[in-house]
Symmetry: C2
Subunit: 112 residues, 2 copies
């Protein structure tokens, strides 16, 4: 089998793609999936609304995650100049994750 593996590119040689690994470092980080999918569904939300929606996540971590996702260019934080109200939404990069969540939903409905 060692010979076969060497010549046929079997599982011994399998490598995950870097893009994919990096993507999962973001999507797979605790709470990020729920944060992004919530913003995907609602278009935008204030901090309190998001926190209520992902209630098991502490404020402390939610703040940190939102910052990180902003730095990744997935979330955008906006301040209304008139009211001063802060809202969180997705950038095109973030919104483009919707098909991922749709597939998760499909899977979840079938198996969870």
């Amino acid at each position: 089998m060692a010979e076969a593996a060497k010549t046929s590119g079997c599982k011994e040689d399998y490598e995950l793609c870097d893009h994919f690994i990096n993507a999962f470092q973001i999507i797979g980080k605790k709470w990020n999936g729920l944060i992004i999918s919530s913003l995907c569904d609602t278009h935008y939300m204030r901090f309190k609304e998001l926190a209520k929606c992902i209630s098991a996540c502490s404020d402390r971590v939610l703040v940190a995650r939102l910052r990180e996702l902003e730095d990744e260019g997935i979330v955008k934080r906006e301040v209304d100049q008139e009211t001063g109200i802060i809202s969180y939404g997705l950038t095109p990069k973030g919104a483009d994750l919707k098909p991922v969540f749709d597939q998760v939903h499909t899977w979840a409905d079938k198996w969870v």
Copy 2:
């Protein structure tokens, strides 16, 4: 806006679906995405191969994750009766996550 929110089901009332939350508790847990997608691509792997492939994950955690995924019915651990060789693969429930990973790949190729 409070009135409007109450009557129109706007973001204040938004709730994530339980199935979806549970699904993300599994898929979103550190390393699980990479573990499952590796097994998705290769069909089955021995522990050492998997560990090499997800090299940033410690053996200790990989062992724990595989057990958890087995308990979730996503991963199956098989022992060859003849050789005693242990291999890890996916159950139908696990294999059914492929479309999710495909979408992550599509997104990663575009944005990461």
